[in-house]
């Protein structure tokens, strides 16, 4: 029997549905210490006092860590891709969002750890906060980072750009310019399993970290960087996750547990409460997208101008990457030969946003697909035919200049129309993904076809 294509039962399914799968919180290693965090009550503030001495002397408390205990406190998850680190593991002198961790206690029970957190002496000097990305570059906007309120490292630019074709000419030539604003919201990844880690210091000096990460090697690299240790000091045990949806790519608990285990020389577990999972774990980002499409009255999309603002929250995390992916896919499943795109990662004083299912593209799919229906309504063209006409075909190029080899815009659109009984004209029903010719190769797409032929 061939396995590929067969409806085989899930490899680990019986364990999942009978409660026998072992998740991180199910691991038993003898006595463990429990971690609890002191978190910022302010959206934006300077920390004017931080004294853990009273808390350290409390019964059952084995270790407290602050930024001073972290060998390398600032490490960016994407430093390997050239995104400089900007986020401290533990706040150092200032806090930029409500819930930002400042100190973490390891104690013999969760109650003892929480009591010690409450006994840490801390004082703040609140600063003005920024929440609306539309005002991030206003002269009077509160300043979040020394380098300003947008991520500044897209080469020499403070924004991700796409420049393709001649957008001005396309807008001159258009019969209509349709403009709209789209604002997809932030949401929670909402896994059943909250963020959790257990770190066991082994007799041979290694640290074993039971992790709920979606990416064991990636998280191991992050922990090793903060601790400044080689990879053979660490062993990650994981591979089975109680829901991630992107929220467990960030290394939320592993590094803190490792530091507390090193300091206390005991096994340490940090299990976030449901409230922490909702309020201080990363969310999907909110976005602000302004589109203007140059279209002809018979339904060709000649060009598109886009301004995207990505609400990164207080720190960059994966946002610079997500915005680039957004930029690369902002023409959707269609060929648009003239593009002008500017995208900004804007900082606000909210919980840093991060990856979530569809990262960077969910937002632009919402914006562009809603916009296409608006275009159809403005020019009086059928929305199915508008899509089929402009659909990606073999050899059409993406916004960043890549010739497509196996596009299926036509196939999925026709299959959906057929399934719900939409009646299309014969010229649409018979479409396929073969390279453009005849009426489907209008003047504005000829140059693209020629350049593509030269490049390949």
């Amino acid at each position: 029997m061939k396995a590929v294509g067969a409806r085989l039962p899930r490899y680990d399914g019986v364990g999942h549905v009978t409660g026998r799968t072992q998740y991180v919180d199910d691991v038993r290693v003898g006595r463990v210490l429990w971690a609890k965090a002191l978190r910022s009550p302010h959206d934006h503030a300077a920390i004017t006092k931080l004294d853990t001495s009273k808390a350290e002397s409390m019964k059952g408390v084995h270790a407290i860590i602050t930024s001073a205990d972290v060998p390398r406190n600032v490490y960016g998850h994407l430093e390997g891709l050239g995104v400089p680190g900007d986020e401290p593991l533990l706040a150092d002198g200032e806090v930029r969002y409500k819930g930002q961790p400042i100190a973490v206690v390891a104690a013999e029970s969760e109650e003892a750890a929480m009591a010690a957190v409450d006994a840490i002496e801390v004082a703040y000097e609140p600063r003005p906060a920024l929440f609306d990305i539309r005002t991030a570059l206003d002269p009077d906007a509160p300043q979040i980072h020394p380098w300003g309120n947008v991520y500044p490292h897209y080469g020499p630019y403070n924004h991700r750009r796409v420049r393709k074709g001649d957008v001005d000419a396309a807008f001159d030539k258009a019969d209509f310019i349709v403009e709209g604003v789209y604002r997809p919201q932030a949401i929670e990844q909402m896994p059943m399993e909250t963020q959790v880690a257990l770190c066991v210091p082994e007799a041979n000096g290694r640290l074993t970290i039971y992790s709920c990460t979606q990416a064991m090697y990636f998280s191991m690299g992050v922990v090793a960087a903060h601790l400044e240790v080689p990879l053979n000091k660490l062993k990650f045990i994981g591979g089975t996750v109680g829901g991630g949806f992107g929220g467990k790519v960030d290394t939320a608990t592993d590094t803190i547990c490792a530091l507390l285990a090193l300091k206390s020389r005991k096994a340490v577990k940090w299990r976030w409460t449901r409230e922490e999972e909702f309020l201080v774990s990363s969310t999907r980002a909110a976005w602000h997208i302004e589109l203007a499409d140059a279209v002809t009255k018979d339904g060709w999309i000649l060009g598109r101008r886009t301004l995207t603002l990505h609400d990164s929250g207080a720190y960059a995390r994966f946002s610079p990457y997500g915005l680039t992916k957004h930029a690369f896919h902002h023409s959707g499943a269609y060929t648009i030969p003239n593009l002008h795109f500017d995208g900004f990662v804007a900082f606000t004083n909210r919980v840093p946003s991060t990856a979530m299912r569809g990262f960077g593209v969910t937002s632009v799919s919402f914006a562009t697909e809603t916009h296409l229906n608006r275009i159809a309504s403005v020019i009086g063209v059928d929305p199915w035919e508008l899509r089929l006409k402009n659909a990606n075909r073999i050899g059409d190029t993406t916004g960043n200049g890549v010739a497509l080899q196996d596009p299926s815009t036509v196939a999925v659109t026709l299959a959906a129309a057929d399934r719900v009984g939409i009646e299309l004209g014969a010229e649409y029903r018979q479409m396929d993904s073969e390279p453009r010719t005849g009426a489907l190769l209008p003047e504005h797409l000829v140059a693209q076809q020629r350049l593509n032929a030269e490049a390949h």
């Binding site: 539309r134 002269p139 420049r163 393709k164 310019i177 896919h329 969910t362 299926s408 299959a415």
Partner: protein, 366 residues
């Protein structure tokens, strides 16, 4: 006051693998002396079923029964590098890693079998755990006996390892253009949403979604359907219900528990009709592309378009809550026209909120 039916749809595309590539997955495989197969992969199974899919790929790439294959993705000491389970890369990149490793193991099995059968390796094939001569199936040796011979006669551990990696694609920061493909594959989908809007309460109910996904090759159709249906309810949450910041951009009144955060639940699940298309990828494992992430991308615009179809208003701030739907009905806002410009939504634009007309965001070409 009435309920209005509407239909909307959307067609989307989504890339496989980390944007700009450079994200390796590695795997290694060894045979036990009875031919049973141990696969070591770093791919985390986040519930989507990558362990199942990888096991299926290895079984067919080797030509052995599925239940001979054991998957170990439990730790970083025995498993090799996997960049991670994100970017819809598990089936394509992780799957290619185990497939390539299995092909190397297959070569070793054929080499040992060739010596045992005294037949050229090129004239042998492996099916259902047996190595047979092409055209002369009576000349055969079981993979179990090949593994035994390797272990006890030839002193060889039959094993193989591989890396699936596409080189990093540099981007021109001025133009956003790239020289090489910055993804592994692109998948496509369409979603048709049939909805009902109550014009008195503003509530939108999704009645049915028809969803078509081109996944290149469905390695396991049941798991693909799981992604389609799980994605549908997640996309419905995005389109209609969920919001981390109910008063965005304010941070007030966030929901800190399930009872205070409106996630979708089974009662919101509409009738679902799933269609899987297989337009094979050029270089995915057995032609597979991906589905993981894109599965929640097409529903929100399909729902927004269906609301317009039902009641003639656009809701472009997500989610389409009853409050927003009612406000849109009340305002009946028409686009502003300036010459050939047709301008929707200017009241929520950057220029409407910025104290300096959004100068920092516009005029980026100087």
């Amino acid at each position: 006051m009435a309920k209005h039916r509407g239909r909307g749809f959307a067609t989307i595309e989504y890339p496989t693998g980390m944007n700009q590539n450079g994200d390796p997955s590695q795997a290694w495989i060894k045979l036990k002396p009875d031919g049973r197969v141990d696969v070591f992969s770093g791919t985390v199974d986040i519930g989507q079923g990558s362990k199942t899919v990888h096991t299926q790929i290895v079984a067919d790439a080797l030509g052995v029964p599925y239940d001979w294959v054991t998957m170990d993705n439990t730790n970083t000491d025995s498993s090799a590098v996997c960049t991670g389970t994100f970017a819809s890369r598990g089936t394509f990149i992780g799957g290619n890693a185990v497939r390539l490793a299995a092909e190397r193991v297959r070569e070793r099995i054929l080499d040992i079998a060739s010596r045992e059968l005294e037949i050229d390796a090129a004239d042998l094939e492996i099916n259902d755990g047996e190595v047979t001569a092409k055209g002369s199936p009576q000349k055969k040796i079981n993979v179990a006996d090949v593994a035994g011979a390797a272990t006890y006669n030839y002193g060889e551990l039959i094993s193989g390892s591989s890396t699936a990696l596409k080189p990093f694609a540099d981007v021109n920061d001025e133009t956003g253009q790239v020289e090489i493909e910055p993804h592994s594959a692109i998948s496509y989908a369409a979603c048709v949403a049939d909805i009902e809007v109550d014009d008195e309460t503003g509530e939108v109910v999704v009645l049915k979604m028809v969803q078509v996904y081109d996944v290149g090759r469905a390695i396991n159709p049941t798991l693909v359907e799981g992604q389609i249906e799980g994605g549908a309810i997640m996309g419905l949450g995005l389109g209609l219900l969920e919001n981390s910041y109910p008063e965005y951009p304010s941070v007030d009144n966030r929901g800190g528990e399930f009872g205070a955060y409106l996630g979708p639940s089974l009662q919101d699940l509409p009738e679902l009709d799933n269609v899987i298309l297989e337009n094979p990828s050029v270089d995915g494992p057995f032609g597979a592309k991906a589905i993981g992430e894109m599965a929640n991308n097409a529903q929100p615009p399909a729902i927004a378009n269906a609301i317009h179809d039902a009641i003639g208003v656009w809701v472009t701030e997500m989610p389409a809550t009853p409050e927003r739907v009612l406000a849109a009905i009340q305002e009946q806002r028409e686009p502003r026209r300036e010459g050939k410009r047709v301008i929707f939504d200017d009241k929520i634009s950057v220029r409407a909120f910025s104290s300096n007309d959004g100068a920092g965001f516009f005029n980026t070409d100087g």
